[in-house]
């Protein structure tokens, strides 16, 4: 009777071992900045921007088509959207009260929806693994040539690192599945002259690949021959391919689709939207002067109370800094979590491709939801703080006169810096 779990356990173990032995991904090439895909005029489209366009198109289309014929008895997509709105709405109304909740809801719900859908979609296999091959040697050659033009005879001030795979040359490609694709990191030490940099890179590459210098010379020769037929620009400055064979590239893959929130620009953009709306709510609720006095409070200074007046001004400065720091914390919280999750999945796929990685996928589904929720709820809470009159801080100092501010909704007193 005990045999069944044992067999299942052994099967799982065998499966993991097979994955580990034969289906290991190469050590991932991790790029923090989103990879560039193509340019429209002066504007460079990165893969995260491209993914954002795709996500927005899909979300907008599905939402519009799904809610075209609404009925009082909901069915299908209407039901899903309504359930999400109801559940989320009740949380927002609880936090902000009915009146403010109604104002906040569209913004925070759309933030939540977009962030969560972007996070979840990034877990599908079409993301991160299909893309264009980026040639590091080519990029580096261009970079060095430009630097040499700007500062003739200059040298690198800091150590430059490049990492990628040596793989077969191709245009659109999958991330090479087998671990024998070599992950190579090359270092250009500080002080290397721009003119020597390419040679240094190739020497490092040859050393890491374990190919001798004679073959390097040979390759260089064939490299010259091969580039002869390429673009006219490259004919003038042929790229020194170093130790690589003719059909090889030292590079990485720029995926077409990459999680939108793993590009720091996207969380920063949401944080800016969030901040704009929080300020807007504050100003519309308290008036421009009422809200502005949170930051610029000269009332007591003008009355002649120098000490408290100066404290008020200092508090205003602190308030201003805290507004700014919110944007930064919003940005890095979302970006950090999602980007770290992506790396975690890369690394787990590299270490243990089967079974074990699923646990981390489940974790990432949870993290994706929670991050969206946290972003939206923090926006709600900041909104509540913005629409609440800050006069009650003064009243607490007086010890009496609490009733003056009692007409504000209960939500206004929710924990502040959550």
């Amino acid at each position: 009777m005990k045999a069944k779990p044992l067999i299942i356990g052994l099967g799982v173990l065998a499966f993991m071992i097979v994955g580990f032995l034969f289906f290991k991904l190469p050590q991932p090439v991790i790029e923090i900045a989103p990879e560039k895909l193509f340019t429209i005029g002066p504007f460079t489209v990165t893969n995260t921007i491209f993914t954002a366009w795709l996500m927005i198109a899909i979300i907008a289309l599905v939402c519009i088509l799904g809610t075209r014929r609404l009925s009082i008895v909901p069915r299908g997509f209407q039901n899903v959207l309504e359930a999400a709105m109801e559940a989320f709405g009740s949380i927002v109304y609880n936090a902000a009260g009915e009146k403010n909740g109604r104002r906040f809801f569209p913004v925070v719900f759309i933030l939540f929806l977009y962030i969560v859908l972007c996070n979840w979609s990034a877990l599908t296999p079409v993301y991160n693994h299909i893309g264009l091959t980026e040639d590091i040697q080519e990029h580096f050659a261009h970079e060095v040539a430009e630097l040499e033009q700007e500062h003739p005879g200059g040298a690198f001030e800091t150590t430059e690192k490049h990492h990628g795979w040596v793989m077969k040359k191709s245009g659109v490609t999958l991330v090479p599945m087998f671990a024998d694709t070599k992950f190579i990191e090359v270092e250009i030490p500080a002080g290397t002259k721009y003119t020597d940099a390419m040679a240094v890179l190739n020497k490092e590459l040859a050393h890491k690949l374990g190919r001798d210098t004679t073959s390097t010379d040979h390759s260089q020769a064939t490299g010259h021959g091969a580039t002869g037929g390429l673009l006219a620009e490259e004919e003038e400055h042929p790229i020194d391919r170093g130790p690589l064979h003719e059909d090889e590239t030292y590079g990485f893959i720029a995926p077409f689709l990459r999680g939108v929130n793993s590009d720091i620009n996207a969380p920063l953009a949401y944080a800016l939207w969030s901040a704009i709306f929080v300020e807007f709510w504050g100003i519309t609720a308290l008036g421009l002067f009422g809200y502005g006095s949170k930051f610029f409070n000269f009332k007591r200074l003008l009355k002649g109370d120098i000490v408290n007046g100066l404290i008020d001004i200092f508090v205003g400065i602190l308030e201003f800094i805290s507004e700014l720091s919110r944007i930064i914390s919003f940005t890095f919280r979302l970006f950090g979590n999602i980007f770290a999750g992506e790396i975690l999945l890369f690394m787990m796929s590299f270490l243990m491709p089967f079974i074990l990685v699923d646990a981390f996928y489940a974790l990432e589904i949870f993290v994706g939801l929670i991050q969206g929720f946290v972003f939206a709820m923090l926006t709600t809470v900041f909104g509540v703080m913005a629409v609440a009159s800050h006069g009650d801080h003064d009243d607490h100092g007086g010890g009496h006169g609490h009733s003056k501010e009692e007409h504000h909704e209960a939500g206004a007193h929710s924990p502040a810096h959550a």
Binding site: T48, I64, W273
Partner: protein
């Protein structure tokens, strides 16, 4: 900054991207759904209220019906009692009237009897007198004055106490 990939065009692009989504959903998707949610909530509330009202009405109606039944029962009891009262009165009256009638009849019968007896006595007396006179005439052979004779007999009868009633008839 460059290593992080932070750059102005990227920020602007993502800012605009989210702005577009915000606009589309806020303008075209959320309002109808929100309206539908509110409408449904209102409808549910209304139907709950209606149900409450209906139930209250039903309870009221039930109470009314009970009250009506009770009232009817009391009414019928009252009617029966009244009928019984009337019946007993009628009975008493009937009995009284019957008794009175019987009494009357008896009285009348008694009077009749009295009359008949008086008549009979008078008749008897007259007959008897006549017979006596005739008998006396015959026996005595003496023709007496008839009127004097009559008076004589009358006196005799008065003395004996028999002619007190019959005296008036003549």
């Amino acid at each position: 900054m460059d290593k992080l990939g932070l750059n102005l065009p990227g920020i602007v692009a993502q800012f605009v991207n989210f702005g577009i989504l915000l606009f589309i959903l806020w303008k075209f998707v959320l309002p109808p759904v929100q309206k539908m949610l509110d409408e449904r909530r209102q409808r549910i509330q209304e139907s709950l209220e209606t149900a409450d009202r209906m139930q209250a009405q039903a309870v009221n109606a039930e109470r009314d019906v009970q009250a009506k039944i009770e009232e009817g029962r009391q009414e019928s009891r009252r009617l029966v009692e009244a009928a019984q009262g009337i019946a007993s009165r009628i009975e008493a009256e009937a009995r009284e009237r019957a008794t009175a009638e019987v009494e009357q009849l008896r009285a009348r019968a008694l009077a009749d009897i009295q009359l008949e007896r008086d008549n009979a006595v008078a008749t008897l007396r007259r007959e008897f007198a006549d017979i006596t006179v005739t008998a006396a005439e015959k026996v005595i052979n003496q023709s007496l004055d008839r009127t004097a004779h009559q008076r004589l007999i009358q006196d005799v009868l008065s003395e004996s106490g028999m002619g007190s009633n019959g005296a008036s008839s003549r």
